[in-house]
Symmetry: C2
Subunit: 283 residues, 2 copies
Amino acid sequence: MELWFTERHTPYVKFSINVDRQLYCGQSDFQRIDVFDSKEFGRILTLDGYIMLTEKDEFIYHEMITHVPMAVHPCVRRVLVIGGGDGGTVRELVKYNTIEHIDLIEIDELVVKVCKKYLPQTACRLDDPRVHIHYEDGLKYTRRHENEYDLILVDSTDPFGPGEDLFTKEFYGNCYKALKEDGIMVNQHESPFYENDAEAMQRAHKRIAQSFPISRVYQAHIPTYASGHWLFGFASKKYHPIRDFNSAAWNVLCIPTKYYNTKLHVGAFALPTYVEDILKAVE
Amino acid sequence: MELWFTERHTPYVKFSINVDRQLYCGQSDFQRIDVFDSKEFGRILTLDGYIMLTEKDEFIYHEMITHVPMAVHPCVRRVLVIGGGDGGTVRELVKYNTIEHIDLIEIDELVVKVCKKYLPQTACRLDDPRVHIHYEDGLKYTRRHENEYDLILVDSTDPFGPGEDLFTKEFYGNCYKALKEDGIMVNQHESPFYENDAEAMQRAHKRIAQSFPISRVYQAHIPTYASGHWLFGFASKKYHPIRDFNSAAWNVLCIPTKYYNTKLHVGAFALPTYVEDILKAVE
């Protein structure tokens, strides 16, 4: 038997993965959740039919959303993660002893339950005593917080469906307010390649650049996301991602990584000319 | 009607592009050649069913194979291109006035004919008077040349089928010999992500590192190649790709590019840790 999961990256491009079996299929109040097992990618989590992560390449996304800001901010104690119910971002964060408190705001409790059961590779550290999970809407949560976090990681789905609010000007303004005076926000920033993704990326960048004094974009190779070329937004009140980056300080921590390293940290901010052009048009 | 071109990136991963129509289909002595037209990628050239280029993203590959070495070597006059019958690499090379002579060694005359007819975007500069096309085997050609070229670009297919010889130790040794004392060779170096590609990449790197005193690898985002994460090998007798790189000198040339820029030049050599590990294992 052949069983293929297919995702449309655009109406004209399909990416298909041969799966051994479907391990889980459920419908929450917010979205459809599926887990598959596959030879090439190990376990795969999809939400509303879109790949959120695979065991083979999730390390790239989770390392890059976490370690880039952690290597810039000199002392992160309190972190807010919006989304990220799979636990991959938390797994990277708890590698830092300086972090005292992590609030994880996941709108969909079922995502956490399913990941704890089927994706221990990412969910393995959600029970760390520093981690506090709140099942509520990320936009609403940020309205009530002020001058509280050193770092906010927006580990959201795409800007349609449950993740839509996390790409609005109001949300970025709330994050600015919820950060301390030297706080950093990093968000998953979509892809520059296919037209619709690039438009979403440009819209997000415009709103973030209007909300934060420092707003830079960095890139990673994520094979199971559309086009494989994925971006992150680095928004900051005080620290510059390169000028305030202390590679020696990060390297002495000896944090194990498979993608991130301090040379790549700098390289990731060197974007192709066509991407720079899209960003500059709204800066 | 729906018409889909599908390429297997591995036995378990398929990448499919909706095509409007097939513009050409032919069989040469070496391979099957097809040209398609598509909404998402414009025209597409495939050889034996593998995507060689699409009009939408070919600029990334052709700029990165060409401009990285051109920005390092202080004065390139004679260039050898092995493969590259589509003309994209030549199109980038002829932007440099210093280049006096380009030998293009393409084993398959039909590829050039088809590209001249259906892919003017890449083949447009094959008639430049500095370009000399030789329809012969690249390995055999390099056996007869010594101390002749400033730059060799190995713009080959994958290490199976007609391109197989261009990944051998003998071929890299021939290239070393065909280069002048400060010559540079750049080759398409496969991908680090899927297992078979990564093995081919590691084998190539081992052979190149044994043949050249300086051997570094750099990366680009090429969405229509397997995993989107593609590598190039920079092999050199004298010049280091970063230490001998003169960004100011390149920028005054005002060469128009959409992907390459001098900041990205440096960034492209900053590889993920897992890729560095694969390379170091054979250095």
